[in-house]
């Protein structure tokens, strides 16, 4: 039986799909930059003092906030889609949506907290 969706809720699923595509494309760039800077330059790139130096620059910090946002959204929205693909997900749609999106928000906030205090 098809359940009724309210007009506001109706747009969340298409928006989530769209943002999954967009975040995927953005991550293709940001992850490449992140990986290049940390693993493909020198052995010193991931030493403590180098990491702290990068995190002190506004440019890098902004990049990390963007990376954090897009990667946590993409990961937990992906998890949401995978769980909704199962019978369990079909029966517990509301709970799956709420929990995965909460996990996204919590992980994003935790990452932000790390970026602020480090």
């Amino acid at each position: 039986m098809r359940e009724e969706v309210t007009p506001a809720k109706r747009v969340l699923e298409p928006l989530a799909w769209l943002l999954q595509m967009i975040s995927g494309a953005v991550l293709a760039v940001l992850i490449t930059v992140h990986f290049y800077v940390t693993h493909m330059t020198s052995h010193e790139a991931i030493r403590y003092h180098e990491v702290i130096e990068r995190l002190s620059s506004t440019g890098y910090k902004a990049m990390y906030v963007a990376l954090l946002f897009f990667v946590t959204f993409h990961a937990f929205n992906g998890l949401r889609a995978i769980v909704l693909d199962t019978n369990f997900g079909a029966r517990n749609r509301g709970a799956v949506n709420t929990i995965t999106m909460l996990l996204f928000i919590i992980t994003f906030i935790y990452g932000l907290y790390l970026l602020i205090i480090i």
């Binding site: 995927g24 030493r47 935790y110």
Partner: protein, 125 residues
């Protein structure tokens, strides 16, 4: 109806294999993301000792194979993901075989290069 249905590849085309790998690498990367953020918590120790201790263990020839496999997962998921974005927005179905082949070749080529650079940095020589 078990999740093994997502990883059925016998009698299927390369597209099914691409899907199964995309799903597996996605799950691996999600787990890695959580591990990575936990790992980075060590940066809150302002002396830098906890963090340096961690990297001396994990950035080593012993861990290098895992790092290289992780890079393969990330590269495959990313490049295959770009292929999926093209098709899911409604483009290039007729060329889907060529695009799949190209994606796999690019992912492998970049992986080999990245692994080589990482090997030189970690093992030296």
């Amino acid at each position: 109806m078990s999740v093994s249905g997502w990883f059925r590849i016998s009698g299927r085309s390369p597209f099914s294999l691409a899907f199964s790998l995309h799903r597996i690498t996605g799950i691996i990367l999600l787990i890695y993301l959580c591990m990575h953020l936990t790992y980075l918590t060590s940066l809150t120790d302002k002396t830098g000792q906890t963090y340096e201790k961690l990297i001396s263990t994990t950035i080593s020839p012993t861990f290098l194979p895992f790092d290289i496999l992780l890079v393969l997962c990330g590269l495959y998921h990313g490049i295959n993901g770009l292929r999926l974005i093209v098709h899911e927005f409604g483009f290039a179905y007729e060329q889907r075989r060529a695009i799949l082949a190209m994606s796999v070749v690019i992912a492998l080529a970049v992986w080999i290069y990245a692994s080589y650079v990482m090997y030189k940095i970690v093992v030296g020589g």
